[in-house]
Amino acid sequence: MTGYKKNIHRRTAAAFLAAMFFLAGCASDKNGRPFLEKKAAGLEAAGADAYGGGDYGASLRKFSEALAANRSVDNRAGELSDLINIGRVLILLGDYGSSVSYLNEAITLAAGIKDDANLSEARATLAKAHYSSGNGAMAADEIDAALAIDERLGAVSGAKLNLKASILMDTGRAIEAKELLKKALKNSESADDITEAANALRLLAGIESAEGTDGSAALKFYERAYELDKTLGNPFKIAVDLKNMAALNLRAGRVNDAAFLFERHYTAAKTIGLLAEAVLSIEELIKIYTASGDGKKASEYIILKDSLIQAQGARISNAEK
């Protein structure tokens, strides 16, 4: 009894140590979980960053790694957002087939975990994938389903309304599209979503322009879109706005305004490397100055056009090598 008591403190310490090691072993899986979730969150942030910068290849890699990390710790919410994000990146990369399969997976998962908000996002993204691949009917079904979910949740999304309006415009339902776009514009403006507000304005301008009027209403929409795109600093959309504003001014007979806008479009398009677009503007400028009898300016632009075509040819042949 005395010997037992003498060693009791050692035995107790050993038992404690064993218990501690056992507990640490059991807890190791729980410690690994937040670490991997943190890692996945970092990868998602990097993916979103690359997406925002237009580096869609890098964005796809980061989101795919985040997906693997989230799956390894059964983080369903993270997995779902990664699947939708991958679907969105793949649309921009033009891989619509892969996008559709990722988004179908996202829809199954969202339904399984009853995440209606993301179910709506997944279905809207699937609508965009179908629309981009030229499948208007399936796109219409998916966007309707997404909007129905939003309505049930009491949410309004400018992006989804714009997409629905684009689909309607393609089937010649311009009046319905116009109503939706007005709603999308109002919602995007109140939500500070500049990108979608500008998209709504551009689509409205497209409808007005196609209606065959003098184009003054369309021009106003393009001007507002241009102002928004300037605040975003998006040169691709600025170039689109300038070109459309120039064409509408030319249609209305305001030749000087049109020429000034074509010159600005040429500068913007050349800066971002859209040489074919820049050449189109120069051709318009040549026509304008030839018609106004300013032969000197017209010949200057002819020389500029030739040099641009040469640069474009060099670029194409380098790409083909």
Partner: protein, 345 residues
């Protein structure tokens, strides 16, 4: 013989204390085992299905079994059958039984190229019956790593050739760099030409403005003289003016139009000035904004990356409790939009 209890009061009732502690430790361990068991689905009811495959490589006991990306069970057993085939038995959570119907197939799959291997079971058609416990399901072979390597081999050879070509002086990379250099010097020249043009337009506008002002002054003087002359003629030749009254009225109207025309000219000159101002401010603006934004972002990213990857950053980073965010449906410049909208608020 020493009595420890008498010397140190802490050793009194030692057996009871040890007993309580042991019971508490054992209870804690049992509780932990139960918690882990619940978390890992050890206590939920299971049922088994099996499939036969030619080779057991790539399978291991404990491997996850998934359906539509969800883990529904794990591989319970792998055994060699009498006819030298491999029988893989999967243990499935009973609650997923309804998805496994005759028509469901098992395949081996991977999360990405280097990810975790798992067994994927496909969803059976709704009209078919549910698979019974212990029933066999068909196994569909999927392309393994070796197949992928065989497919990748020619691509790797091509990549090697491309790298070799890119490195040669006449290769794509070198030629493109040369072209880019030429193109950027062209751009610089175009910029300086535009700047010169803007300066010239500005000075021309100034000259035009001065000319218009002189014209205005001279026209005013001419008008005053003409008015005086008309006044003189009016007093001296009343009779003649009576007869030619209509003609004088018309001359007056024509004269009154002159300041209106001058005003219009002024407005046009102002418009041209505004447009040339807009052109000069807009041309370099895009480039400046893009360069500055890029520099700031690169620096910011490097700093944040440094902090995040450092050990101190790892320790101080709070545990992730957030709802994952989605990128916008329209993929354009998120950072800039966020920055601007914050700035505008």
């Amino acid at each position: 013989m020493d009595n420890t209890e008498d010397k140190d009061s802490r050793f009194r009732h030692l057996e009871v204390k040890i007993g309580v502690m042991t019971v508490a430790a054992v209870a804690g361990i049992i509780l932990l085992i139960i918690l882990i068991g619940v978390q890992k689905d050890l206590f939920s009811s299971k049922y088994h299905v099996h499939f036969i495959t030619d080779s057991g490589s790539g399978f291991k006991v404990g491997m996850p079994v998934k359906l539509s990306g969800f883990k529904i069970g794990r591989v319970r057993d792998i055994e060699l059958s009498d006819d030298a085939k491999v029988k893989v038995t999967a243990e499935i959570n009973k609650k997923y039984e309804r998805w496994l119907r005759s028509g469901s197939k098992a395949t081996s799959a991977k999360d990405g190229l280097l990810g975790e291997s798992f067994v994927e079971i496909t969803l059976g058609p709704a009209k078919e019956r549910v698979i019974a416990d212990g029933e066999k399901i068909p196994y569909a072979k999927s392309g393994g790593m070796e197949d992928i390597m065989e497919e990748v081999k020619p691509i790797l050879t091509e990549v090697k050739e491309i790298i070799h070509f890119m490195n040669s002086p006449e290769g794509d990379l070198k030629a493109t760099l040369r072209n880019a250099k030429t193109f950027s010097s062209d751009l610089k020249e175009t910029r300086s030409n535009v700047d010169k043009m803007v300066i010239e337009v500005g000075s021309t506008m100034k000259k035009t403005g001065a000319f218009i002002e002189t014209l205005n002054a001279k026209t005013g003087a001419v008008l005053t003289t003409t008015n005086k002359l008309v006044g003189d003629v009016d007093t001296r030749m009343n009779l003649v003016l009576d007869k030619a009254g209509g003609a004088a009225k018309k001359a007056d109207e024509a004269m009154s139009r002159l300041p209106v025309i001058t005003e219009k000219l002024d407005a046009i000159a102002n418009d041209v000035k505004k447009l040339s101002g807009a052109l000069s401010s807009e041309t370099p603006r895009l480039q400046r904004i893009m360069t500055k934004a890029e520099d700031t972002l690169t620096e910011g990213n490097a700093l944040v990356k440094g902090i995040k990857e450092g050990w101190a950053g790892n320790l101080m980073m709070p545990e992730v409790k957030r709802r994952p965010e989605l990128v916008p449906l329209d993929g354009y410049l998120i950072r800039k939009q966020k920055k601007d909208s914050q700035g505008s608020k």
